[in-house]
């Protein structure tokens, strides 16, 4: 505690509050709320019932109003804490509401009806986690199928991305040939072309290759990334040429130089690209939505979108499945963030 509080409450100059301390605090706390708030809201809301989600004013934690089965009433009734005219407070069950008056019964003495102003009653609420938000989609929807599709697309696309991009980067960093810089420039220039521009031609290519409604149609167009080539090339430039000369003297073929010398030494940059690729592919929505039209081929992100129907949106399922969808990305970041920072610092890429 002592160390932690000293660290957190450390101030400029050690004494008194300087205005920069206050600005720093506001900035950091504000940043925390902005960055972390939506995630916290998402996680807690994913445990709310549909009624809890529709509640106004909204609460952060998932509360439910307690219910009780009262003799003589078919449905369970909601419990309220009501302030009676004599000043006492009792837990009553609401039978019906008429205007601003509420007809209530005491669960212990169901015969007697008490009329209470709605402003004088507060619902009895308890913390309750609606775990069925998580379990139901597994039962009712093809969640596991979507999950498998997503995992397949992400893993395959990432592996191919790493191999294809590292090969291009190897050639562009370690071989001298005419037009090397031009090739690199053209690759980088494609960064300026957004997906929406090439969507239609890309679609017609995929469709004429017969990859429409095929997971490979999702995977293949994404595997060559200019960012990836750039990250890897910049990193490979830092590998000394003498190492490659040494390998050549050691009778290594060009493939062995790539596979056994350059690739292992590029591991930090490969890790960065792998993380990026996993996040990109996992979160892809638009392109899979275009290519895949059969339900059993949907990826998670596309699958999620079918929870929002035309007439009703099943927010509780959407939120819960969003949390599940986020988990791999969060895990990847938690465990590999070390590589991201060092790798990005190493390649000079922002």
């Amino acid at each position: 505690m002592g160390v932690a509080s000293r660290f957190i409450l450390r101030r400029k100059g050690g004494k008194g509050w300087h205005w920069t301390d206050i600005v720093t605090w506001l900035w950091l706390v504000g940043g925390l709320i902005i960055m972390f708030g939506p995630a916290v809201w998402l996680v807690f809301s994913s445990f709310k019932t549909p009624a809890g989600l529709a509640e106004f004013p909204p609460s952060i934690l998932p509360y439910v109003t307690q219910q009780a089965t009262v003799q003589g009433y078919d449905k369970p009734l909601q419990l309220f804490e009501a302030k009676l005219p004599d000043g006492s407070t009792r837990v009553l069950a609401e039978v019906r509401r008429i205007g601003i008056m509420s007809q209530m019964v005491d669960p212990k003495t169901p015969g007697e009806t008490i009329r209470v102003n709605i402003n004088d009653r507060t619902p009895v609420r308890t913390l309750s986690f609606a775990t069925e938000n998580y379990t139901q989609p597994f039962v009712h929807f093809n969640f596991l199928r979507y999950l498998w599709n997503s995992v397949f697309v992400t893993v395959t696309a990432t592996l191919i991305t790493l191999i294809v991009n590292s090969m291009a980067a190897f050639a562009l960093s370690k071989y001298e040939f005419r037009g090397r810089s031009v090739a690199m420039l053209i690759i980088l220039a494609t960064l300026m072309v957004p997906l929406s521009v090439i969507m239609v031609p890309l679609y017609s290519i995929i469709s004429s290759l017969g990859l429409f409604n095929n997971l490979w149609g999702v995977i293949l167009p994404t595997v060559a990334t200019p960012t990836g080539v750039f990250i890897l090339r910049q990193y490979m430039l830092t590998i000394p040429d003498e190492l490659i000369d040494a390998a050549r003297m050691d009778k290594a073929s060009e493939w062995q130089i790539y596979w056994r010398i350059v690739l292992p030494l590029t591991a930090p940059a490969l890790a960065v690209l792998a993380i990026f690729s996993v996040v990109w592919r996992w979160n892809d929505f638009l392109w899979p939505l275009i290519v895949l039209s059969r339900r059993e081929l949907y990826t998670l992100q596309v699958g999620l979108s079918i929870y929002s129907g035309e007439l009703n949106v099943q927010w509780h399922f959407i939120l819960a499945m969003t949390v599940v969808t986020m988990i791999p990305v969060v895990l990847v970041f938690i465990f590999l963030q070390r590589f991201i920072t060092t790798g990005i610092a190493g390649t000079g890429l922002k």
Binding site: P240, E242, R248, D250, A252, S253, L265
Partner: protein, 360 residues
């Protein structure tokens, strides 16, 4: 066998000619040192022999076979790089094994060769470590070990000692000489350090601006440098150069005027020389002695470096710099006048083009 013959080697990078008409015949088992100032093309020459660079012209032969078109891997040579170029992600053992595995050698033989090389170089205790965990000297040994296990026709060493500290360099130099004596393979060694060249080489190849200036044993280069460049490059401190003029010529003897007024008699019957010729006289600092004789060279002392066993005197002779290394400790200080004697010193005469004036 490790006989290497270079004929008329040319190498250009675009319009820059790095190597010009290199002719050299390296005999089997020879320790050859390429020496020269940085940028003289000595490393490029080594890389062309290795096959890492393609020649623009000329012919390279190894053991009588033309290898111009043979790749680096198939020339049967091994190279030790300046930065050692050890594979950082492999252990020392894997570093040594890499080249052997690539030539599909049976595992037992790989292991045997590694053990042998490790014992020879005393790197057995850290065979399982990564290069990053080794000191500079240890890495250097591993780099040499990687070459040894290949049992190459010839070793190519590109400034292998330049990354070591001074003390380690001296001891490693001696080990390298011992290693060569033991293995007996041809070694080609590139350095810019003439002391390394003098101590290691059977023959030294002095290069400048892509050309070979002189090839010879260390003492040949020291005693009879072919030109002013070689004379200045070999030997430490550098040779003194004084401008001289031929004033008299008799049979077998030439009298030169140096330092404005001093007459110097040299036993050269230069038929090419005639009275009035401008020459350069080279005198090694170690060959100058201090004299009391007023007939000797009178110089002004600018700086004295007392090294204990010897004293280095920087002096000025009529506007020309003169360096003398005299044994022992001397009572002499900057600003003094001193008398230098060159009587009996081997003198090197160079003509206007910097070429040695040959004694007949």
């Amino acid at each position: 066998m490790g006989e290497i013959k270079l004929t008329d080697i040319k190498k250009s990078f675009g319009s820059v000619h790095v190597l010009k008409d290199i002719d050299l015949h390296i005999k089997d088992g020879e320790f050859i040192v390429f020496v020269g100032p940085s940028g003289c093309g000595k490393s490029t020459l080594l890389r062309t022999i290795a096959g890492l660079e393609k020649v623009t012209g000329g012919e390279i032969e190894i053991d009588g076979k033309r290898v111009n078109e043979v790749t680096a891997a198939d020339r049967g040579l091994a190279m030790v790089f300046q930065s050692y170029a050890l594979y950082p992600h492999m252990s020392v053992r894997q570093n040594l094994a890499f080249g052997l595995e690539n030539s599909n050698m049976p595992k037992a033989e790989v292991a045997e060769r590694i053990t042998e090389a490790a014992r020879m170089l005393e790197i057995e205790p850290y065979l399982e470590r990564r290069p990053g965990q080794l000191s500079g000297g240890q890495r250097q040994r591993v780099a040499i070990g990687r070459a040894i296990v290949r049992r190459p026709t010839a070793f190519l060493l590109d400034e292998p000692l330049s990354n070591l500290d001074a003390e380690l360099r001296v001891s490693t130099r001696a080990e390298l000489a011992a290693l060569h004596a033991r293995i007996g393979s041809t070694m080609i060694y590139v350095t810019h350090d003439q002391v390394e060249a003098m101590t290691l080489a059977h023959r030294i190849v002095v290069m400048r601006a892509g050309k070979i200036e002189q090839v010879g044993t260390p003492l040949e280069l020291y005693n009879t440098p072919a030109n002013r460049f070689v004379a200045g490059f070999i030997g430490a401190p550098h040779m003194n150069f004084l401008s001289a003029e031929v004033v008299e010529q008799e049979a077998g003897k030439t009298t030169l005027l140096i330092g404005g007024s001093h007459r110097l008699l040299v036993p050269i019957s230069g038929q090419k020389l005639s009275v009035g010729d401008k020459l350069t006289v080279g005198i090694r600092p170690q060959h100058i002695t201090l004299a009391n004789d007023p007939g000797s060279l009178t110089v002004k002392v600018r700086l004295v470096e007392a090294l204990g066993s010897e004293t280095v005197i920087h002096a000025d002779l009529n506007g020309e710099k003169l360096l003398a290394v005299v044994p022992g400790q001397r009572q002499i200080s900057p600003g003094d006048e001193a008398h230098f004697s060159v009587a009996g010193a081997p003198l090197h005469l160079f003509d206007g083009n910097g070429l040695r004036v040959k004694d007949k």
